[in-house]
C-alpha cells in the first residue's frame, strides 16, 4: 500500500512565524524578457515557493514566506538575475525551534 499525502506548501508555511517588512522586499528579481534556466529552476526548488512564472512568462517573487535559506542567492546572484539582501534586523522569518 502506497499513500503519499501531499501537503500544500501554504499549509507548511502557515506554521511559521514571520514579521514581514511591508513594502521592503529583501530579494528582487531583475526585469527580464525570458528567464535564465537557474531563475526558472527557482520556481520549483525554492523551499517556500516564493518564485512563480507570470502570464507573460517572466519569473516574479513574493518574499513573504521566504525562510532566508540563500538557495536562490547561490544560483542567481552572481549572474545578476536577482538582488539579494537580508531583511532589516528583526524582520523576516522567526524560527520558534529552528
Amino acid at each position: 500500500m502506497k499513500v503519499t499525502v501531499m501537503e500544500r506548501i501554504e499549509d507548511k508555511l502557515y506554521q511559521n512565524r514571520y514579521l514581514v517588512d511591508t513594502g521592503r522586499p529583501h530579494i528582487k528579481v531583475r526585469p527580464h524578457l525570458s528567464p535564465s534556466p537557474n531563475l526558472l529552476a527557482l520556481t520549483e526548488i525554492c523551499p517556500a515557493k516564493c518564485y512563480e512564472v507570470n502570464d507573460a512568462g517572466q519569473v516574479e517573487i513574493v518574499v513573504d514566506g521566504c525562510m532566508e535559506c540563500g538557495t536562490c542567492r547561490v544560483l542567481c546572484e552572481a549572474n545578476g538575475d536577482i538582488e539579494w539582501n537580508y531583511p532589516r534586523g528583526g524582520f523576516g522569518i522567526l524560527f520558534k525551534f529552528g
Binding site: N16, P47, G70, W84, Y86, L94, F97, G98
Partner: protein, 435 residues
C-alpha cells in the same frame, strides 16, 4: 556607539559566533556581537545533534543549565529504496554515562542560552541588527562594520565573520567566493510534536535517552542527499537535504522530497499522529576541505559555516563552528596580550591552531568525498540502495527458491547494474576517499 572602539566585533550569534564572543569576553576583551534575528537562534536551523566534548572545552559545566533534549544511546543508518530500508543499528548502554557524549538540541533555545553566557561574561550583544557592510580603510584593512541601525561605522580592531553558510559580508567584500551550487546542500526540516511517552515507546527509550536515524537512498531521487530523523524530548526533527546543484538540474521540489520521506513506509509509523509546528529551510556547506576559503586577513577572520568548516561525511558542523570560534577567540586574546596588531600575519595564528586540531585533520581526511559522492550520485543514491534492498530481500524471503539460486541472483543483479569493474572501482574509490 560610533565613538566607542571595540577589541572585536562578532557578526552572528550562532554556534561559531557565540563560541568566539564567549571566549573573548570571558578573557576580558571588549566585545560587541551583532545578530540580525529578533533573538539569537531565531534565524538558525539545525538537525540537531550537539557534540558535548567541543562545548565542554568552552563551558565545562554546560550540562547544569543548557537546554538539552535527549542524550543519544542509539544510532541507526538506513539505506532506503522506495518500499524498504536496510539498516545498521548501534545501541549501547555505555552512552548512558555520567557525562554523555551527544545530545539532541533545539537551536532556537540553545542559541538563546549560549548567548546568555556571552552576556554573563561581559560581552555586549545587540539583536535585531543586520550588518550591511564591512568598513575597510584605503589599504583594504577591515576596521569595523556598517549596520542597518542609525549611526555610522562601528569600529573594532578585528571583525569575526560568524555569519553562517549564507554569509553576505565576506563575499561582498571580496574576501571569499560565493559558495558554488555543488558545494552547498539545501535542507528542509519539520518539527513533529508527540507526547514524550509515545516517542519513548516507539523508539524503545527511557526518559532522557535518544535515538537518531540517518538515511540515504532513493529518497533523494538520484541526487546527492540524506534524510534524518532525530528524537527530542517531545518532538521529532525530520528533514532531508540535497545539493543545490542536484535540485537545480532535477527541478525537484524540496518539500515534495520531504513529504515523500515522511510518507515512506519505514518512517510513517514513527511520526504517526504528530502535530507539525514548524517548517524550516537552511543551507549546509558540503564542499569540505577543498572549498575552504582564505580564513584570515588584515582586521578580519572567518569561522564556522561561513568558512565551509563543516564535515558532511560525519554530519558534524556545529562542533567545528564552536571549535573554530574558540580558536579565533584564543588567537585574538593571545595577539592582544603581546600588544600585537590584528594584521594578517598575526592572525595566521588562528589558522595554525585550526590546522593542528581535529577540525582540519578531519576535513583533510575526507577531502575527496564530496566530489566522489557528487560525481557518482546515481550509483550511490539510487543503484546501490535498490540492489542492497533486493539482496536483503533475496536473503530473507523464503519462497522455495534454493539458496544458491537466490545468492546468484543477488550477485548477478549487482554486476548487471554496475559491471564487475564498476563495483571494484566504486569500492576502491570509496576506500581511498575515506582513508
Amino acid at each position: 556607539m560610533s565613538e566607542e572602539k571595540f577589541d572585536a566585533i562578532v557578526v552572528g550569534a550562532g554556534m561559531s559566533g557565540n563560541a568566539a564572543a564567549y571566549t573573548m569576553a570571558s578573557s576580558g576583551l571588549k566585545v560587541l556581537q551583532l545578530e540580525r534575528g529578533e533573538y539569537p537562534g531565531s534565524k538558525n536551523v539545525q538537525g540537531a545533534i550537539l557534540y558535548a566534548n567541543t562545548l565542554e572545552t568552552i563551558i565545562p559545566d554546560f550540562r547544569d543549565d543548557a537546554p538539552l533534549e535527549r542524550h543519544l544511546v542509539e544510532q541507526r543508518f538506513w539505506i532506503m529504496d522506495d518500499t524498504s530500508h536496510t539498516g545498521m543499528h548501534y545501541r549501547s548502554d555505555d552512552f548512558n554515562e555520567q557525562r554523555p557524549n551527544r545530545y539532541t538540541i533545539i537551536r532556537a533555545q540553545f542559541d538563546k542560552w549560549f548567548s546568555g553566557k556571552v552576556r554573563e561574561a561581559g560581552g555586549t550583544v545587540l539583536c535585531e541588527t543586520t550588518v550591511t557592510k564591512l568598513a575597510q580603510d584605503l589599504s583594504g584593512k577591515v576596521i569595523g562594520v556598517h549596520t542597518d541601525r542609525t549611526g555610522g561605522v562601528i569600529l573594532a580592531d578585528v571583525v569575526v565573520l560568524a555569519e553562517g553558510a549564507n554569509g553576505l559580508l565576506g563575499t561582498r567584500a571580496g574576501l571569499r567566493e560565493m559558495p558554488k551550487p555543488e558545494h552547498v546542500a539545501l535542507a528542509v526540516k519539520e518539527m513533529h510534536f508527540l507526547p514524550e511517552e509515545i516517542i519513548a515507546e516507539r523508539f524503545g527509550l527511557t526518559e532522557d535517552e535518544g535515538c537518531v536515524i540517518e538515511a540515504g537512498g532513493t529518497i533523494s531521487r538520484g541526487m546527492a542527499g540524506l534524510g534524518f530523523l532525530y528524537t527530542n524530548r517531545e518532538s521529532i526533527s525530520l528533514g532531508i537535504g540535497c545539493l543545490v546543484s542536484g535540485l537545480a538540474s532535477t527541478m525537484e521540489k524540496p518539500y515534495a522530497l520531504l513529504d515523500a520521506f515522511k510518507g515512506h513506509p519505514s518512517i510513517r509509523p514513527l511520526i504517526a499522529g504528530s502535530e507539525i509546528k514548524e517548517y524550516a529551510a537552511h543551507l549546509i556547506p558540503e564542499g569540505g576541505f577543498k572549498a575552504i576559503p582564505q580564513l584570515f586577513g588584515n582586521g578580519w577572520v572567518v569561522v564556522g559555516d561561513a568558512a565551509q568548516l563543516n564535515n558532511a561525511v560525519h554530519r558534524e558542523g556545529s562542533n567545528l563552528a564552536m571549535a573554530s570560534g574558540r580558536m579565533v577567540g584564543e588567537s585574538i586574546f593571545h595577539i592582544k596580550c603581546r600588544g600585537g596588531a590584528m594584521t594578517k600575519q598575526n592572525l595566521s595564528l588562528y589558522k595554525s591552531m585550526l590546522d593542528k586540531s581535529f577540525v582540519m585533520k578531519d576535513l583533510r581526511k575526507h577531502k575527496d568525498m564530496p566530489a566522489l559522492l557528487h560525481t557518482n550520485r546515481q550509483s550511490f543514491f539510487t543503484t546501490y540502495p535498490k540492489l542492497i534492498s533486493q539482496a536483503a530481500q533475496n536473503f530473507v524471503r523464503v519462497d522455495g527458491t534454493p539458496k544458491i539460486e537466490s545468492e546468484k541472483a543477488t550477485s548477478a543483479a549487482f554486476i548487471k547494474a554496475r559491471s564487475r569493474w564498476g563495483l571494484v572501482s566504486d569500492a576502491v574509490r570509496l576506500a581511498l576517499a575515506w582513508r
